[in-house]
């Protein structure tokens, strides 16, 4: 990582990963920073690019189209059922790359650490990033570390940037939805957001729900193998599926009609939303995708999703319709219709 190669290891004491804390010196470019990089980041992320200790990673260029994306992670709390900010930051960027149909190749990771943050927690986070990157087979090849004074951060902020290659003939984009297309989702909605909410200080309720944080590129590869002409892919993260579909509707100048009775939502998630006065359609997901495809592709695409471990609850949830207003609507289970609007501001619970 940056500037690490300039100083030879010769530390009097090794990093105290049990009881130590992040200090301003860990970001100041001196021996302490070199030690942090060497004993924590390099030890966890180890690969041929990092080992060269340069300020950048050099690799062979690819033929054809490439995809690039960056994503900052500021989640509170840092640790939650099913993952932590580390695994989330790896999955988030891999998914953003994968939603173009691309195969993610390399990641960069940038850390902003708050003075006083326990090194033991940082190690848990870094280890979980390393595991996530290894499981996804997408190495973290370069990175950066900065330390801010206590009170200027919230423990750890992580920005990851990814780069990937788009297979020939794949053209997946938010502007490609056409009236008549089918809308599919890869699994249950709202799991991540409810797992996080359940830990928030002023709510804290018990739930068995785990965050769904996962890297979706392998699922995408399986989907493209059976239906290379998928029109749109997107991961419904912040703002949930409602926001994602509204974005796509606007980009493609179409409307959408969802069927409430087809939406896969776990009962504990609906129950939590019910008593918190929230709508699961607006709750974040971190391991789900929405796919929009021609009607002829829908059946085989759904089957391909359902045989993949990350798509076993996949469902066809609606279709694209003509609508100059670009409204996303829903046929309610009750038999009526309603608009599924953009989220305005933060989703705030209702009083009664």
């Amino acid at each position: 990582m940056s500037s690490a190669g300039k100083i030879r290891p010769g530390y009097t004491r090794s990093l105290d990963l049990k009881n130590g804390c992040v200090e301003m010196a860990h970001g100041s470019g001196g021996r302490a920073m070199a030690q942090l990089i060497d004993q924590l980041f390099l030890a966890a992320f180890d690969n041929e690019f990092l080992r060269k200790m340069n300020d950048q990673a050099c690799f062979q260029s690819f033929n054809g189209r490439m995809a690039m994306s960056t994503d900052s992670h500021v989640v509170t709390p840092l640790f939650f059922p099913g993952g932590n900010i580390g695994s989330l930051s790896v999955h988030g960027t891999i998914n953003d790359i994968a939603m173009s149909g691309a195969k993610p190749c390399y990641l960069a990771a940038s850390f902003i650490l708050e003075e006083g943050f326990p090194l033991a927690d940082l190690k848990r986070i870094v280890d979980s990033m390393a595991q996530a990157a290894q499981a996804a087979q997408v190495p973290i090849v370069t990175g950066d570390t900065k330390v801010v004074e206590k009170g200027s951060g919230d423990g750890v902020f992580i920005t990851t940037t990814g780069i990937g290659t788009v297979p020939d003939g794949i053209n997946i984009s938010g502007e490609n939805a056409r009236p008549g297309d089918k809308i599919l989702v890869s699994g249950t909605l709202g799991d991540h957001g409810i797992a996080i909410l359940s830990l928030r200080e002023n709510l804290s309720f018990h739930t068995s729900i785990q965050s769904d944080t996962a890297a979706l590129h392998d699922l995408v590869a399986c989907m493209i193998a059976v239906a290379p002409n998928i029109h749109v892919l997107r991961d419904p993260t912040r703002g949930g599926i409602a926001t994602t579909l509204n974005e796509i509707a606007l980009q493609s100048s179409v409307g959408m009609m969802l069927y409430e009775n087809k939406l896969p939502i776990r009962e504990p998630v609906s129950a939590a939303c019910e008593f918190l006065g929230l709508d699961p359609l607006y709750i974040a997901n971190e391991g789900k995708l929405v796919a929009i495809c021609a009607p002829a592709d829908a059946g085989k695409l759904l089957r391909a999703m359902q045989v993949h471990p990350l798509g076993e609850n996949a469902a066809l949830i609606g279709e694209v319709i003509e609508d100059t207003h670009c409204f996303v609507q829903m046929q309610t289970r009750f038999g009526g219709k309603r608009v599924v609007d953009w989220l305005s501001g933060e989703q705030l619970p209702r009083i009664c």
């Binding site: 038999g335 309603r338 609007d341 619970p349 209702r350 009664c352």
Partner: protein
């Protein structure tokens, strides 16, 4: 979800819809007001209007506590929140309400005020316990449903000897607002607002019971059906109202028997009577000054009254002139009749109160019902 899905059953809804369609007399119109924001929300969220014949019109009443709170009181809360070291605790809905200059509790928070969103009055007491060096004010709003928990919080604070906890009381009363609407010239004399019946409050009625509505049914000859907030409750209540209207009856009926007793929750009523007393008058957004329509903290509990401790002034701020919230809250106009609905006034930039909370008529129409190009029912104000 058990005990919830049963009340959202689509097949049963179709059966009730068929009954409504066959029993509603095609030669007349039915104008039914749902008083509560909770009902408005259910009607919009489940698309209930799609299941009703064209001659059954739903009019959205003023029963959203966030919507009817006058801007002056929001301004008071913002001023409180800006007192250095003070922690203002509020229900989530209130945070976004804008004042005349576009300020809100959320914006005040962004500028450094310590505003905390709480789910219950008990959370505010806990915050006061944990922060003995800070003044903690609970911004209490709501109808009869949220009043008993506020009374409990005050009693708890007293028992704990908390001297840093006060309540900014804005609790209002449902029956006075209904009377006010029924007595308004538009309804009584001019006949501008045809009102054939009321869907009575759900949660409010669990506290006050069904008896307080007997007066309206009798005095104004309007049928009232108390209904739960689930969509099947609303459908059933509409059917019951249509039957009463067809038979020329004006009675109080209770659809929400699983939760509402004729006498309500006596314990909660006694608690409220112990801690609160009637205000001579209180301003409602959209309705103006309504006599004996709100509660204040009794002098016995003055130590817990933020209005006393912080000498909160009476601030009256007029609504934007173009805003039709007043007429909409009284049932005189529909959201689509307002010139700024969906143009200058949207959930992102709410100008009027009805656009702020998802229980407000305008926000419900905007968020859930915009696909309806033609308003289902329109009324003109001359």
């Amino acid at each position: 979800m058990k005990y919830i899905d049963e009340f959202r059953d689509g097949d049963l809804a179709q059966k009730i819809a068929a009954n409504i369609a066959s029993e509603a007399d095609p030669r007349r119109n039915y104008h039914l007001m749902e008083f509560c924001g909770g009902h408005t929300h259910a009607i919009s969220r489940y698309g209930i209007v799609d299941l009703l014949p064209d001659n059954v019109h739903m009019i959205h009443g003023p029963g959203c506590p966030v919507c009817v709170l006058p801007v002056g009181r929001v301004e008071n809360a913002i001023q409180l929140a800006r007192i250095p070291g003070l922690i203002l605790c509020s229900y989530g809905d209130m945070l976004r309400i804008p004042t005349a200059n576009g300020m809100s509790l959320l914006k005040a928070k962004a500028q450094g005020a310590d505003v905390r969103m709480v789910y219950s009055s008990a959370d505010a007491v806990k915050i006061a316990q944990e922060n003995p060096q800070h003044q903690v004010v609970f911004f209490a709003i709501g109808f009869e449903t949220t009043t008993p928990p506020t009374a409990v919080a005050i009693k708890q604070a007293q028992a704990l000897g908390l001297n840093n906890f006060t309540v900014f009381c804005n609790h209002v009363l449902t029956p006075s607002a209904i009377s006010h609407i029924l007595q308004s010239p538009e309804v009584r004399q001019l006949g501008l607002v045809p009102l054939d019946g009321f869907i009575g409050p759900a949660h409010v009625s669990t506290v006050i019971g069904s008896q307080p509505y007997e007066y309206f049914a009798e005095e104004f000859q309007k049928p009232v059906v108390i209904a739960g907030f689930e969509p099947l409750d609303v459908m059933q209540a509409i059917l019951m109202l249509i039957r009463q209207i067809n038979e020329g009856r004006a009675e109080v009926e209770n659809e929400f028997t699983r939760a509402v007793l004729p006498t309500g929750n006596i314990k909660a009523q006694l608690l409220v009577a112990e801690v609160f007393e009637l205000r001579r008058t209180f301003e409602w957004r959209g309705l103006g000054l309504v006599p004996y329509s709100a509660l204040k903290i009794k002098s016995d509990y003055a130590d817990f009254d933020a209005e006393q401790r912080f000498q909160i002034p009476v601030v009256s701020i007029a609504d934007n002139k173009a805003c039709e919230c007043g007429a909409i809250l009284r049932g005189v106009k529909q959201p689509q009749d307002c010139k700024i609905f969906g143009t200058a006034c949207t959930p992102e930039n709410p100008i009027g109160s009805c656009m702020v909370s998802s229980e407000g008529a305008c926000a419900a129409y905007y968020s859930y019902g915009r696909f309806r190009e033609k308003p289902h029912a329109t009324m003109k104000e001359n």
